[in-house]
Amino acid sequence: MQARERIVRRAAREVRAGMTVNLGIGLPTGIAAYLEAGMNVCLHSENGVAGVGPAVATERADRNLIDAGGAYVSTLPGASFFDSAVSFALVRGGRLDLALLGAMQVSASGDLANWIIPGKFTPGVGGGMELAQKSRRVVALMTHCDKGGRPKILQECTLPLTAPRCVDRVITDMAVIDIRGGTMLLREIAEGVSVQEVVDATDAPLTIDADAISTF
């Protein structure tokens, strides 16, 4: 299984019936395809849609209906459209149960960096800060290490932050790690990965209860 698929499959299990959920642009968007069919979930898109349905092929698309990533989408029965102020009121007002967000780096205390690499990648943050800061639960998704094999879970982020102390859980291709009160707790390891491999690939202290670690 590819790293991305492994992450996305595991992340899909974070979504529970009844939730209002935002799937961030990039990696998290892929989660929609792995949700249980008919699950009572309300997907929110920050451009003003609640009740986003499956993506639609361009030739059958409604030209006025995209998600925040620019993909043509459909709506489910019970969907609604609203303006950008209402859309972020929903986020900042605490009505978003879960945001699954792509990450560049996550720190031991749950700081998230996912929007800028100064001098290299400077597209602007979009709605990322609100989603990170105000969703009731934030799950960050990323490959455990960068292409050079360097850890992306760090004692402190080296990239500018999207929001400090906002990540509740990190899901990577190697592990699921919870962050509580500044401590990182290793919860699950990917099939075929050892605890030691996760520790070696992580640049922050992990609390490990070997008996409680499951495999995904």
């Binding site: 019936a17 009844g18 209002t20 009572n40 309300c42 929110h44 849609v49 609640a50 009740g51 709506t75 489910l76 029965p77 019970g78 969907a79 609604s80 459209f81 609203f82 102020a85 209402v86 972020f88 009121a89 929903l90 986020v91 900042r92 007002g93 605490g94 009505r95 978003l96 105000k134």
Partner: protein, 237 residues
Amino acid sequence: MLDKRTSIEEAIAQITDGASIMVGGFGVPGTPFLLLEELVRQGQKRLTIIKNDANESGMGVDLLVANGQVARLVVSHLGLNPHAIERMNAGDITVEFCAQGILAERIRAAGAGLPAVLTDIGIDTLLADGKPVIEFEGQRCLVEKALSADFALIHAERADPFGNHTYAASARNFSPLMAMAAQTVIVEAEQLVAEGEIAPDAVHTPGPFVDAVVHLEALTDAYGVVRRGNEVVNRAG
């Protein structure tokens, strides 16, 4: 989507003594009379009621006042309700008055997760007493604090089980703002429709803001009564 249909008893039973409650409506239109009557029946005490007005004497919020359930009102005016003014003057209830549009903005700010907004409305008047004033870019501004509540009681014309709903005509007023600003949002609906029957473009308040949907089997006279002097006319139904 999640099915949020609830009985009126269960919906109102979530409210505890001492709760703060936003109530939609501007005069009669938009006032959730049946939710309020259930609240009178259940008798929760020491309530803070946030509403544009306190309805007319003998109806809506005034029934709560008369029943001794209200400790505090936050309103823009009590002009329709001499009984509430009397109770205020007697010291039975405390009343906080806000400029109407600032009341709307304070409620909206809470719904939008903003701690406060700046405004010059009412500056140097009685309504500014006790409110912080700051200078912003050369202009003196009041800092108007976001106004949230434990509950919002909302009257909708149509709702689906997920909580998407619409308002009729001038019954909209404060309701869309309150439906965003309270911890728990209870909507009573004249019509309950299936998901998808309210076109997504026509939704006034989206389902994610709503916690409970109560279908009204029938309206009471209150929904259609406006008193003009001694004349009482029923326009309900």
